[in-house]
């Protein structure tokens, strides 16, 4: 099966029908037909979980990345676009690995993953970033019925020519449902905060850059890739209106936004 997020296809190879079925369900909106350009990720399923409680570690270079956490071990060659993973038959390990591979690939393709909800209204994408509890799921639930919800947790942002677009992702937060597999040019970015009243204020690009770097998902410590992500984020903020958005949990907030 090929899972394609933000135009980055990953061919997940497994010979376990039960695991395949689980992935089909989890990534149902993002499965595409064969694509010879896809990254190949071979899954070796283990019978028993590793009991070591290891934090995520991403190390390596342009030729080979090693990505490991207590529940999985993976290597990935970005030049050959091939990788493998050893894990038990659970969705969380492969989900984490897909995010990491995407963050590495997006960095080289003028994009990044952002801790943010996003939705398309009237063919324009609106991004809402914030830490856990800031209101990403809440504002997603309040979106107009006509909106396409891209994600309530992790947004995929990528430059296409002179325009930055947001893509849907299957990476869900409390909504526990994959986003729509569509994209649109980004109209605005909001830094979210719950408040008793709705209030919106413009943020300077410098302030926005300071804040957004804390919310970008990037796991590798490769200085060259970190510089690329930083540059892409700065270019994004130079082209995008950015606001601080304090909101109370009712649908009127969407009148203020769109």
């Amino acid at each position: 099966m090929i899972v394609q997020i933000g135009e980055i296809p990953i061919h997940i190879r497994t010979d376990n029908p039960g695991f395949q079925e689980m992935l089909n369900k989890r990534y149902r909106n993002f499965i595409t037909p064969s694509n010879p350009a896809a990254i190949t990720l071979s899954v070796e399923l283990l019978a028993e979980a590793n009991t070591q409680d290891l934090d995520l570690a991403v190390s390596g270079n342009k030729d080979l990345w090693t990505i490991q956490r207590g529940d999985f071990f993976s290597t990935y060659n970005p030049t050959l676009r091939q990788g493998n993973v050893r894990q038990t038959a659970n969705p969380w390990s492969i989900d984490a690995l897909i995010r990491i591979i995407h963050s590495l690939e997006l960095a080289r393709n003028r994009g990044f993953l952002l801790h943010a909800a996003s939705a398309i209204v009237n063919k324009r994408a609106f991004i809402f970033t914030g830490a856990s509890g800031a209101g990403k799921t809440t504002i997603s639930r309040l979106a107009p019925k006509s909106a396409s919800l891209l994600t309530d947790e992790i947004s995929c942002i990528r430059r296409e020519g002179e325009v930055f677009r947001a893509w849907g992702t299957p990476f869900a937060g409390e909504l526990a449902t994959p986003g729509d597999n569509v994209s649109a040019p980004i109209a605005a970015l909001y830094f979210l905060r719950h408040a008793p009243e709705n209030r919106i204020a413009e943020l300077s690009p410098a302030e926005a850059l300071r804040r957004i770097m804390k919310n970008i998902l990037f796991f590798a410590e490769d200085p060259e890739l970190v510089q690329l992500v930083f540059s892409t984020a700065a270019e994004f903020l130079e082209r995008t209106p950015v606001f601080r958005l304090e909101f109370k949990p009712d649908a009127s907030i969407w009148d203020l936004i769109s």
């Binding site: 850059l209 770097m213 200085p223 970190v226 700065a234």
Partner: protein
């Protein structure tokens, strides 16, 4: 005499006159105000700090040279402590003679 030089391998961007500098080694972020940005941008390792103050700070800000230099020296030491500025005792050799 001190010759400030922007540390190599940093990511930086000037947005609306303010530099944001990131050290990719540890993802540490630094925000520089307008005067600090002016010094940072002029820190080529060949221009003495006092010349930077004379030509980039004093003309744009109503401040006495001695005070501006003292502030700039303190700032330069602070940036050097965070490894985003190098303070050279001699000018860096010109790479393009």
């Amino acid at each position: 005499m001190t010759f400030p030089l922007r540390a190599p391998n940093l990511a930086s961007r000037v947005l609306h006159g303010e530099a944001i500098v990131m050290n990719p080694a540890d993802s540490g972020l630094f925000s520089l105000n307008e005067t600090a940005t002016a010094i940072w941008l002029a820190a080529d390792g060949q221009t003495p700090l006092r010349t930077i103050v004379e030509s980039h700070i004093c003309p744009d800000y109503e401040v006495a040279f001695e005070q501006a230099l003292a502030d700039a020296e303190e700032l330069a030491r602070d940036l050097a402590q965070h490894a985003i500025l190098l303070l050279l005792p001699e000018p860096r050799p010109n790479p393009c003679p």
